[in-house]
């Protein structure tokens, strides 16, 4: 039972092609939930359904016990930050931020106080009299954020707010966003396609593909226990084997469940040893390619039926053509049903 609940949401324009299909999602109070996925996966559509900019063809959306499924956008009281920031070019920074407050018919003194407070929190003090045209990308982003936050919304919605910024600014801004979100304790839904950004600040991540949620979990759990092959690849797993292949290679498969189709392991978790150290759970192979990564070496090792990628930061360096043993520690194996 979440603070916000999407249940069985369908979004389709012609009953044949579904942009979202039977999608259900919980939003917990005070958390930063991210929607992550490649373009076309439906994450922005989901956000716009929550915002009310798109009407779902089926399903419900309830927030804090109130059914919002058919509430029009301007009555939902959510703060939204758009990818393009969508600042009003004809208004100053102050007026942009005050826009929502003026609509709520607050008196001048209150507006001035609220705007002043949020301007400090979002670090744009001193820019109040400027026009959007005169601001840099990072400054516009902060104004957009301030404008959405000042109305004290029930939900904060961010649509890829950092994708138009350069790398360094992106790092700075995502920390600011996380800090502000925690300080104000505001429930937030954050859409992005950048995995690192997402994992670094989210409390939970919903990974989406083709209109469905593949896994919704904390970043740590997704990282160590991905649910599907797609997600595993996304978080850095290489080396995928079917059960048959695993058995042939003498990899322990006792952790497999009923519907396990594959298993995988990270390059960093495979133990590389010299020819002589072969043992029970190990396989023998030949080094084909060796790449220097700085902190470690990456080896492509050819074993029967496959080539395995191994990253090894140990002192011993193996040469191309050398015969090596690979051990696959049981606890580092991840079993996948999809």
């Amino acid at each position: 039972m979440g603070f916000g609940e999407l249940r069985h949401i369908d979004v389709s324009y012609d009953k044949k092609n579904f942009i979202l299909q039977d999608l259900s999602l919980d939003i917990n109070k005070g958390e930063l939930l991210s929607l992550l996925g490649p373009s076309g996966c439906g994450k922005t559509t989901t956000l716009r359904v929550i915002a009310g900019l798109i009407e779902a063809s089926a399903g419900t959306f309830v927030l804090d016990g109130v059914d919002m499924t058919h509430t029009p956008v301007h009555k939902r009281d959510f703060g939204m930050v758009f990818q393009s920031y969508a600042l009003f070019p004809h208004l100053t920074v102050y007026e942009n931020i005050a826009f929502g407050l003026r609509l709520r018919k607050l008196d001048e003194a209150t507006i001035k106080k609220q705007v002043g407070k949020i301007v400090d929190i979002c670090d744009i003090a001193g820019f109040e009299k400027r026009f959007p045209k005169q601001l840099s990308g990072g400054q516009r982003q902060r104004v957009a954020l301030a404008r959405a936050l000042v109305i004290e919304p029930k939900l904060l919605l961010l649509d890829e707010p950092l994708s138009n910024l350069d790398a360094q600014l992106r790092l700075q801004m995502r920390t600011s966003i996380k800090r502000i979100q925690q300080e104000l304790g505001i429930s937030t839904v954050f859409v992005t396609h950048d995995q690192e950004e997402c994992f670094s600040i989210s409390d939970r991540v919903a990974i989406m593909q083709k209109g469905k949620i593949e896994q919704c979990d904390s970043p740590e759990r997704i990282y160590s226990r991905p649910a599907t092959q797609m997600i595993a690849r996304f978080v850095g797993f290489k080396n995928f084997f079917t059960i048959e292949q695993a058995n042939q290679l003498r990899i322990a498969t006792d952790g497999a469940g009923q519907d396990t189709k594959m298993l995988c392991i990270r390059p960093e978790d495979i133990v590389l040893g010299a020819k002589e150290s072969s043992g029970l759970n190990s396989t023998v192979g030949t080094v084909e390619v060796r790449t220097y990564l700085g902190k470690a070496y990456q080896y492509e090792v050819k074993i029967p039926q496959a080539t395995v990628t191994v990253v090894n930061s140990e002192e011993t360096v193996f040469g191309v053509g050398e015969i090596v043993t690979l051990a696959f520690p049981r606890e580092k194996l991840v079993f996948l049903s999809r």
Binding site: L53, A86, P89, H90, F99, R147
Partner: protein, 277 residues
């Protein structure tokens, strides 16, 4: 391009404008400043004559009203058109521009047949028994305004529609998300961002209305003259060269003055920036 070629290429046009515009303008208007010594007496005569000043004020007043009406009707209509899907939008836009291809006589005649004593409106009202005597709708200031609005509304619509198409969807959505219902969004976001279009089209409508001849003549007649009607009467019927020159000069001043005011306002507005950010 060689200098000689350059001059030869530009020659014809420069000659055309000089011989057919600049020289005739100076030739016709300069004498109005000399009686024979330099004096503004012809102009003071014009401004002290109540007949002339009433026409001048009528022209300014009706042009202003026409421009205002075009703006007030034009803004919502253009917004509606700019929201239509591509195909429908193109069709409706080209249909609104179609009247521009007919000449002013056709358009004026259409309104004569609607507003006249035996026109369609009076026929209809008399038939359903609402009135006994026909209403005087033609040869009034009202008729001139309707005819002028009819003449220039397409210009306002096409200018505003293209400006509004440039307003991003995201700015409108941002306004909604902040709590602005559609009407408030229209007035607080769409209208301010269309200001440049209003300015450009507004100048065209005002300048066009105040310089027009056919529409005021057909729909206003001699009882409700505008500057152009007066000019024609003075020059063709009465052969008053100097009065005609005075009127011509005043008309030029008003047109060019409007452009100057427009440029000043436009540069002031440009500071705050109107493009999508």
């Amino acid at each position: 391009m060689t200098k000689s070629r350059y001059l030869v290429s530009l020659g014809p046009c420069i000659l055309l404008v000089a011989v057919c515009l600049l020289i005739p303008l100076v030739f016709t208007i300069l004498p109005s400043f000399f009686t024979p010594g330099f004096s503004l007496s012809y102009y003071t005569q014009f401004f002290t004559d109540s007949f002339s000043t009433s026409i001048l004020f009528r022209s300014l007043r009706l042009s202003f009203i026409t421009t205002l009406i075009c703006i007030v009707i034009g803004l919502p209509t253009s917004y509606y058109i700019s929201l239509l899907k591509e195909k429908k939008r193109r069709i409706i836009l080209s249909l609104t521009l179609f009247p521009l291809l007919t000449n002013a006589v056709v358009r004026g005649f259409a309104w004569i047949s609607i507003l006249g004593k035996n026109g369609l409106i009076n026929q209809f009202l008399q038939k359903i028994g609402l009135i006994d005597m026909p209403l005087k709708l033609l040869y009034t200031d009202f008729a001139i305004v309707i005819g002028s609005v009819y003449l220039f509304l397409p210009v306002m619509l096409s200018t505003l529609t293209s400006v509004m198409e440039g307003i991003g969807d995201d700015v409108v959505e941002a306004a909604y998300s902040l709590g602005a219902p559609p009407t408030a969004t229209f007035f607080k976001v769409i209208v301010p961002l269309s200001f440049s279009g209003v300015l450009v089209a507004g100048v065209m409508v005002f300048a066009g209305t105040i310089s027009a001849y056919t529409t005021p003549t057909l729909l206003g007649g001699n009882q409700n003259m505008m500057l152009a009607t007066l000019l024609y009467q003075q020059s063709n019927t009465l052969s008053n060269w100097t009065t005609s020159a005075v009127i011509a000069f005043i008309m030029i001043l008003i047109s060019l003055g409007m452009m100057k005011i427009f440029n000043i306002i436009a540069s002031k507005v440009d500071k705050r920036g109107e493009g999508n950010v």
